[in-house]
């Protein structure tokens, strides 16, 4: 079971994440991502959309698998900027860890 926080997407604006709600989960990003890894980054975007903050923190290490190559952002049909979203989530996780 995961708790959801509808304000999570807004909370991430401070970390440069301002387009997650543009995503309609088509999966183009996961298909083009060179990691070929468990629906990455689509799954993370979905977590942000529904506010599953705990899920993101549990799987935080996966965020650092991202190569920041930009292919997902280049091909996203909704300009949801998945690459920048992953980078923003890294900033969020680092900030949380430093605060703890």
């Amino acid at each position: 079971m995961a708790l959801v926080n509808p304000d999570f997407a807004a909370e991430l604006k401070a970390y440069g994440v301002d387009t997650p709600l543009e995503c309609f989960n088509c999966g183009t990003c996961a298909a083009i991502c060179p990691l070929l890894f468990e629906h990455f980054p689509r799954k993370m975007i979905r977590y942000v959309q529904v506010g599953a903050k705990e899920k993101i923190l549990q799987q935080a290490e996966d965020l650092w698998r991202c190569l920041h190559c930009g292919l997902c952002t280049q091909t996203c049909p909704r300009q949801a900027n998945p690459g920048e979203l992953i980078l923003g989530l890294r900033r969020y996780v680092v900030a949380q860890a430093r605060r703890a």
């Binding site: 060179p34 965020l63 680092v94």
Partner: protein
């Protein structure tokens, strides 16, 4: 995979203490200019800003060899304690592990870039005290505060020295100075990659050799859309090249960015890109020190754009 937080803390501590991610003092780290002849600054000249990236490659190679042995072992967790050592000690250890031949080789690429810029009549100068690591790895790993503090220091120092025009030599530094510094520090510089400054007076005859295949770095290909620059240089010199399917805006990553947190993941991505390039059955040319070192690791015949052009213009 290492705990990313351990890697970030270690790199951030090094950048804070020595202004580079390896903890090696600048006097040991940035030495290429000593053999590059003198530089005179004239009004309007651009600063050649290496961002210490080519100089970093031998140190990255040494670090990765060490991390590859550690990854997945029971010792991996101890990495987190290394940040408690003084940076000078970490840096001295790493400097001792880094072979001199590697330093000479990558410094040589900077000498060649310098020679090509001079030959092209580009107005530029160099001063080691104005040349810094850009902080890009901290940004990429998500240490926003660490990146901003370092970038503010670099931008302020450059502004104090009256620098407004910059010539860069690698895509990571180019991206940092062109896109990130204005956004995060407010400092705006006129930034040009070195290959955009290469203007040779007359097109030379080709080198009579088979074509090379180009590997575009992600930052030049997608983020900065500068892939045409190196192609223009090669066309002007009648040096033949071919492209693989995944090139320019749709280039494939070499895996370099994964090196600091997972050498195993780096190898996996690298093997895929190496396969794409091998299919062209031609020597590879790239224009990024990280890609260059990575593709060399895959055993491909690869060289830097500057080396190819420099040999042709010798």
């Amino acid at each position: 995979m290492f705990n990313p937080q351990d890697i970030i803390d270690l790199l951030a501590a090094n950048v804070r203490q020595t202004r580079n991610p390896f903890g090696v003092p600048a006097s040991k780290f940035n030495t290429w200019w000593k053999d590059a002849g003198g530089f005179t600054r004239r009004p309007g000249d651009a600063l050649l800003f290496t961002g210490l990236m080519y100089q970093a490659i031998p140190y990255i190679e040494a670090t990765t060899r060490y991390l590859e042995r550690l990854e997945g072992s029971s010792w991996a967790g101890y990495l987190r304690y290394s940040r408690f050592l003084p940076a000078s000690l970490r840096g001295r250890g790493l400097a001792a592990l880094t072979p001199a031949a590697g330093k000479k080789k990558f410094n040589g690429i900077l000498h060649t870039i310098c020679r090509l810029l001079k030959k092209s009549g580009a107005g530029f100068f160099y001063h080691p005290e104005m040349d810094f690591y850009s902080g890009i790895l901290l940004y990429d790993l998500g240490d926003q505060d660490g990146f901003i503090k370092h970038a503010q220091f670099v931008a302020k120092t450059l502004k104090l020295h009256g620098v407004s025009k910059i010539i860069t030599v690698d895509p990571h530094t180019t991206y940092a100075l062109k896109e990130l510094y204005p956004k995060y520090t407010g400092a705006i510089f006129e930034v040009q990659p070195y290959f955009s400054q290469l203007q040779f007076q007359a097109p030379a005859a080709g080198n009579g050799k088979p074509p090379v295949v180009l590997h575009d770095p992600c930052l030049y290909g997608r983020y900065l859309q500068l892939s045409e620059g190196p192609r223009r240089v090669l066309k002007n010199l009648n040096l033949e090249y071919v492209d693989v399917r995944n090139c320019g805006e749709f280039t494939s990553c070499c895996g370099g960015p994964a090196e600091s947190v997972s050498p195993a993941l780096n190898r996996e991505i690298l093997a895929r890109r190496a396969g794409e390039l091998k299919a062209a059955a031609a020597p590879v040319v790239t224009f990024c020190p990280i890609c260059l070192a990575n593709l060399l690791k895959a055993g491909l015949p690869v060289e830097d754009l500057a080396s190819l052009v420099g040999r042709h213009m010798a």
